[in-house]
Subunit: 313 residues, 4 copies
């Protein structure tokens, strides 16, 4: 099997690409994400047909945010798109005439990084995606660990603070409330509100109010030495690193791959995370340490990973 | 390969047994645990020779508390026995003339339950042992998940309370400080001290003081309706179930097996744990639920599991 | 000075009453709360004139939610009414021609209970109001403790969970997020969502969904034995009692008075709070225990207390 | 009344001093602290007689760690000296023939600072002593707030982390476990153990091991720029400042006075505490801020304060 098609369903757009065996994207197409659950299905079919036309691709992998069942066919629950027990594989196969594999989007991204990105040379890898929220994927012995019901790797909802912050999932204290792009902005706003005298640079990048602070402001201000921005990254790293230490106690991988928008900042965020990881790693003096690596594929990881999973069948 | 020998190194005694392919223990022998690191090695060899004499067993599996390396040969760190980088496999093979496999004791117990106990019919199982501390073992796709460096499944040191109770590992807030036999006794003592009027029965089982309360008193008093004892079990279950919910988000097994001394109390503790698990399971309405099963092999699980791992070798 | 007028500014209505020296309300008047900051001031003046007409009352006490300065004249910050540095005393005095005292509403209610309600016989009292949020008032040596800047007794924002729930004040983990009417409803909804099989009665009182659960449903269901409703009250009491134990370590009053809508449930909530208080009281075996009393004046406490503070001058 | 005698009962020595109305110590005497409860009483009497001989002092104030009753006569509970309901006032009056006032030692120190130290110009002051543990004292309207039963101001046992570190008092998560000299050393040891590469300077001041780190090493290393030592002070300040913010919500004083051995480091610790206080102060933009002042009397505060309380008598 040579070429396959990967699909990435985002909040604003749905992207598809023809991907070769080496993980290279040969061609892409995209459409805006429709507002209705049914509309999304038609849009997926459209974008696949659009990019697949004239190519020799004969299998499709789709990455979707939500719970995907153990047969990689049905989306059990996708809160953003409002799918419940959506038989996505069947519906897309009927529409495009190719075999389809559905996968959780963070799993697909993890697989992409494992196969073609930072995971080179590792067979036991845990991927953590620090985007707006926090997603995860697990590779054990060179295989994607999906869990018995297909819903493993939901790292974002690990409870790191009992009785902590409310999460969209209905629970409290979920890791993604403390280690994600959204958390970073909250840290910055809270600190800028309490001690504006330490956030002059940061506040100046937005409209001057704490509420006007956005993620890119925090990055820019941190690079320029703003104390509140630096402290916000440190807080994010404190929680991210402590969580990785937990995952090391559970999975014991040879490497962690940290991706997502937050990780685009590179060592500004990776170094504090590594330091925090060492700080909290249990038994750290008596065991080999997993590496903490930056992801390499950026926003392409999900699409490339989904395409490759279609190839794996 | 027919018979193998399993060894279980405990704090007070070292037990060995000849085990057949069905997990039945045919013969056993045991010696007191010597006080020195070197003494333990000789004692292990002695007890293997003692039980193996005259049997056709030709392989040995040893379960040891601590970090065991990825080759299942060296104990990296065993705080109780004070081993550091102890080449246990080599030393025992030289002494007994049989091939030896070393495994973490909680992993060995998990394997025993998976193969011959509560794990029947499940291929993705997470075992949690609530003994004095809290240990764990992971079976994925019918294989023991040891991690890249051999130290996966250290559930007891998952951080469930930031800045929480000090743990013997040097960290704070480790799960085993909140969900273990030791925790149960602490809960009972604290409550009996604060509100002795609700612990008359419980206090009467010991010497009348909170400090005199022991684990078995809490069980007996709970069965007899003592409010403090019941509340102590409820607190234990609160933490145990919440942790299982976390593990479900990460591993997504089809079943949890709960073993260890605390679980000997059966539904007195299992039912509250199940309830707490459902309470905290993220996305519980949109996914299949793992079963929460009581372990079946009791204290034999480690020995039987170690013996079987020698067979898998 | 015989009669005075007390004013209570609520979210939906503004009430005024003529009150005698014994704390009895002789006459009342009320108007809907206007939507604008300026409108509220006019409405306060109107309702005072309306109730005061023909009475011999010659002083006014006003209870307002928010920070009131040390001169009891200016409201520094009232988020709900959107007042900032509002010179309320001056404006009302100009409009009604009587001397005016402004006080924080929870302080006024505490004073009312101290003088005419549950506080009889106590000179050191801490009042905690469990309403939608959590408010407080402190009486030390028979005097209202206002603090140097007038903003003492903001119990609701005591941080009881580091990195905990977001609060409207911008901080996290504030006590009122865990011990208030709003918290009670959250507990009930979360539990009913996770384990609907234990909340059949509770769910049946609303529209059948967790989101449809309201405060009065939880009370009614708890009285009828619904497990989730009972557990929700227990959780509320856990936090309320632990907080009272903290306040005992700080203030060491002879009595706590627990008021607010939640306390209307009487022993359904008071008894678990007392139990939790004893559970968490530091050094409880070596010190006298403060009493935990139910408030007696209900919703009148603020109005009566404000009127009496006007008398005290 | 001109001269009075103050007594400070420490863990290693008992000191007495003749103090004038301006808080100046004219003469002192001290003896080692005896090991038995009865011995301590005789030693107190001896040291009073020794220093009082030939002076015109005719009243004694004694500061003792523990709960002192509302009559300032009986020590209800002093865990270190093992006193229970010890009628200290009577026993010492019989022995020395002067009137005696007994006070909690942290209260006495707070009073000393209020009268003769950093409290000048303030009538509402909250004192926090960061020594081995954490003690407190409250001045309201120029009077020491003792509470109804004499045990107010036990700040050290405010619960700042639910299910947190065990405290000697039997409770968990007490503030003094996170903000005290003992906590500082724990922070340093934990960090030096986890990341020794960042603690070379700090480790070099002791015996090279984390366990060898003592309080003065942390101070010295922090001044010299050691990253782990600086981070340890930052962590201490994080908790100290957050706690002060809580106390501001409750007491609303015009100033906090921070004393105890940790505060001897001056701005090394005071500045981060001030920053953390501002960070966590609820409603900080809408209210005047209390000052955070360094104590001025050092170890003399307790003795001087006790002497002055005898004068107030």
């Amino acid at each position: 099997m040579g070429l396959t098609i990967g699909v990435d369903i985002g909040g604003t757009k749905i992207a598809a690409g023809v991907v070769d065996e080496g993980g290279t994207i040969l061609d892409t197409s995209q459409v805006p994400t429709p507002p209705t659950p049914e509309g999304v299905i038609e849009a997926i079919a459209d974008v696949i047909r659009s990019v697949g036309e004239g190519s020799s691709a004969d299998a499709v992998g789709i990455g979707a945010a939500g719970y995907v069942d153990d047969k990689r066919a049905t989306v059990l629950f996708a809160p953003n798109i409002r799918w419940r027990h959506e038989t996505l594989k069947d519906k897309i196969e009927q529409r495009v005439g190719m075999s389809v594999v559905v996968e959780n989007d963070a799993n697909a991204a993890a697989w992409g990084e494992y196969r073609f990105g930072a995971g080179a040379g590792h067979d036991d890898v845990v991927c953590v995606t620090l985007g707006t929220g926090l997603g995860g994927g697990i590779i054990i012995g060179g295989r994607l660990h999906r869990g018995r019901f297909g819903v493993a790797g939901e790292f974002g909802h690990l409870r790191v603070v009992p009785d902590g912050l409310l999460c969209g999932c209905g629970s409290q204290g979920c890791w993604e409330q403390y280690a994600s792009g959204r958390a970073l902005v909250r840290y910055a706003r809270q600190r800028a509100s309490a001690t504006p005298e330490n956030a002059e640079l940061l506040l100046g990048l937005g409209d001057g109010t704490p509420e006007g602070i956005e993620g890119r402001h925090v990055s820019d201000a941190a690079r320029a030495g703003d104390p509140v921005a630096i402290d916000s990254f440190r807080e994010l790293a404190r929680w991210a690193g402590a969580g990785l230490a937990d995952l090391a106690s559970l999975f014991d991988p040879s490497a962690f791959i940290v991706g997502g928008g937050v990780s685009d900042e590179g060592d500004l965020v990776l170094e504090p995370i590594r330091k925090s990881f060492r700080r909290w790693l249990v038994g750290g003096r008596h065991r080999p340490h997993a590496q903490v690596l930056a992801a390499q594929l950026g926003g392409r990881a999900g699409l490339v990973g989904a395409a490759d999973l279609a190839r794996q069948g």
